[in-house]
């Protein structure tokens, strides 16, 4: 009995902890599918978290906070897009700049928010479903963003695989020159992809501060942005796989707390290490799998300039 309860609450917590990871991973998948690498996830995410917290704190409406977080992410992504897509600057450098910027500015502007209480996203118990013993608490009693995240996955999959826009996105990330020669505007698609990705990453941050952690502290994201970069590779740039990766990592994150609480004699610091060790393993695994050649967008990280031929 006690065990099933433990597992139910573990699943519930994994989903909640996994949701920010899911949003950020999906955002980065969209970005990278267009051939743009945004290494700045950590910075974008934490900006979303702080801005979201602030707006919820000021307006008392968590949804305004979530949206504000999304738009903060979008704004930072716009900087990234401007540098990498319009000016064709090195994508890695711009991304790293976003990390430093995001961590710095949130630390500075967020000082006043530390210890404050904003209004948070409340869990919604789905009627009937949440009554089911164990499963109800595990799966059907979450805040709305958890469900929205789950819904986005099939939608995004459909968009990427079944629509013209999805195909254009894919082509731009694979062979921008080919896309250009059939009349697709490479820069426009990349711009839109980066902005959309940034929006989702911003929301991921806001969910972190307004639904999962329910607090603002300096460095709140604690490396989750980097983990999501690994999750993108883990998912093979496919949204349907991203959700498993995100929940799995959410679970690892939570497990370390739970085991700690259960009084297992393992050092706290060691447990906190587990997700990162796992990240390294995932990367190793992906490098080996990379030989399939069908994962990463072929033009990832390469700026596209037209008057250039081979």
């Amino acid at each position: 009995m006690l065990e099933s309860e433990f597992i139910a609450s573990l699943i519930a917590a994994s989903m909640r902890a996994g949701t920010p990871l899911l949003f950020a991973t999906l955002g980065e998948i969209i970005t990278e599918r267009s051939g743009v690498l945004n290494l700045g996830l950590e910075g974008v995410m934490i900006t979303g978290a702080m801005v979201g917290f602030y707006f919820s704190y000021v307006t008392g409406n968590p949804w305004i906070g979530i949206l504000a977080g999304g738009f903060a992410g979008l704004l930072l992504a716009m900087v990234h897009a401007f540098f990498t897509v319009t000016l064709k600057v090195d994508q890695a450098v711009t991304g790293l700049m976003l990390v430093l910027f995001g961590l710095g500015i949130t630390g500075f502007l967020g000082r006043g928010l530390v210890g404050e209480v904003a209004s948070y996203l409340q869990p919604v118990k789905l009627p009937l479903l949440s009554e089911i013993p164990y499963i109800g608490t595990a799966v059907f009693s979450h805040d709305p963003l958890v469900y929205i995240g789950i819904l986005i996955v099939p939608l995004l999959w459909f968009f990427m695989n079944k629509t013209r826009y999805g195909m254009e996105l894919y082509a731009v990330g694979e062979n921008p020159e080919a896309a250009d020669t059939v009349g697709i505007s490479v820069d426009r698609i990349r711009f839109i992809a980066v902005l959309t990705g940034g929006f989702l990453v911003g929301i991921a941050g806001a969910h972190l501060s307004l639904a999962y952690a329910k607090v603002w502290t300096d460095g709140l994201t604690a490396g989750r942005g980097w983990i999501c970069l690994a999750l993108v590779i883990f998912s093979g740039w496919m949204p349907q796989r991203a959700i498993f990766g995100a929940y799995l990592f959410g679970g690892l994150d939570v497990l370390s707390f739970k085991l700690q609480a259960a009084g297992l004699g393992v050092s706290y610091h060691f447990m906190r290490m587990v997700p990162y060790i796992f990240t390294i393993l995932v990367l190793l695994f992906s490098v080996i799998r990379e030989r399939e050649k069908f994962g990463a967008p072929s033009a990832l990280g390469k700026p596209y300039i037209r008057e250039q031929k081979y």
Binding site: T163, D180, T181, S185, F294, S298, E307, Y310
Partner: protein, 546 residues
Amino acid sequence: MSLLLWQGGKGCNFYKLVEHYQGIEINMGNRKTKTERGWALQGENSDIILEMKNITKVFPGVVANDRVNLEVRRGEIHGLLGENGAGKTTLMSILYGLYRPDEGEIIFDGEKRVFSSPKDAIESGIGMVHQHFMLVNKMSALNNILLGYKTPGDPLLDYEWAREKIRSIIEVYGIDAELDERVINMSVGEEQRVEILKSLFRDVKLLILDEPTSVLTPIESERLFQALKRMSEKGLTVLFITHKLREALEVTDRITVLRKGRNVGTLITKRTDEKELARLMVGREIDMKIEKKRVEAGKDVLKLENVYARNDRGLMALKGISLSVREGEILGIAGVSGNGQKELEEVIIGLRPVEKGKILFNGEDITFSSVRKRTRLGISCIPENRIETGLAPSLTIEENLILRDYESFSRNGFMEFDMIEAHAEKLVEEYGIKTPSTKAPARTLSGGNIQRLIIARELSRNPLFLIASQPTRGLDIAGIDYVRRKLISLAEEGKAILLISEDLEEIVQISDRIAVIFEGEIRGIFDRENVDIDRIGLLMSGGADN
């Protein structure tokens, strides 16, 4: 009748009138064929679909197009000829909206147009098949054809509708492709058909083909020509770039020759011949007769013993190849592409693992040696895929020229830039690589000049053994002549050469011995003295030798 119509149309000048008149005269002589081909006698169809006026395009250091005028009639097949670097691709890229001209205007289908991107060109009805294909390798043929196209129900993709439309195109023009196959698994011929389908799918009025036949086998080329003729019968206009004069004479109605970025004349195909075209292109007569002196073949330099290797798809592509190349001889490998030539090249240079069998170089077993080691032993290679394996496109020409031997251009670990520069200057001059500067990135070279660069690098290092895979593909006639002579003189110096080519004529012309490859096996070896073209042709297509 058409004359009047013409006069009633746009403003015209004397020159055009005369040319037009000549056209009619020609058509009278060929009443039947020309009527079939759909322009000419019905005057209303013989209008001008495209006029490019005074097009100038300057790249840093080169005038790629210098006040070019080009006039193309509706429904004709118009050839565009010129040496490597003459500006053909540039002119077509301008027409397709990829490059913006510095000067000049384009009148297409009766209207003045400014194409600022391919999108504009496509929307006005212009399609282009590029010299280097523009396909997304990981996507299926069908998706490549559909890419960027709005099917009914957009933004959803209506595959059924698309398949139906493609099927009708295939029926009309006879250009076929495996729609569900990924491009990565396709042969170049197939890729090209996908490219053409991509254009036809967009209902183009004018189709530009940039050197479509330089990657095709003779049979594939013949199929392409049939399709082109059908297109022109249906009223489609085709602009066709080629280096092969015979092809141009065979399929085109008119030919425009570019030299050094200028239009040096538009000719009616029926009234010209190879000689005149060659003279216009190069500015002098070219004598294509080459004789290789018979050198006493020496000892074996490269020897393959029962070699097996797999292709990228994991299938056995070389099935027990045994052959030897001796000092002072050129061994030609004849065969239709895709029968193991690529794998043979890669196995010898060391890029592909050998499953079974042995490779010996001057008696030394190099089956498992690294590429580096083989290079040092004196193996050179002109690879078939010049952009992917032959070159680092964003490095400069100088750097590309020392890629294989960069170590001998350094002292105590420091590069000797003066030496590198002098080396490059010398080779650019000697091999006729057209470029404003040896410090320009290699990707700015024209297709044929990229090939020259690779040949210069591989031949100048004075190898003991050379694999030359399609060495003259994409070269103009002067270039072809030069390379063939160079190969011969290399052999005459006692070097061993393995020549892989789909051009049977080339093989017969310069090889001492000819081996025929089919489905990964050597089906027969002939001495120069007793070559039998018919039998080689038969073996190439899998016929039994008895």
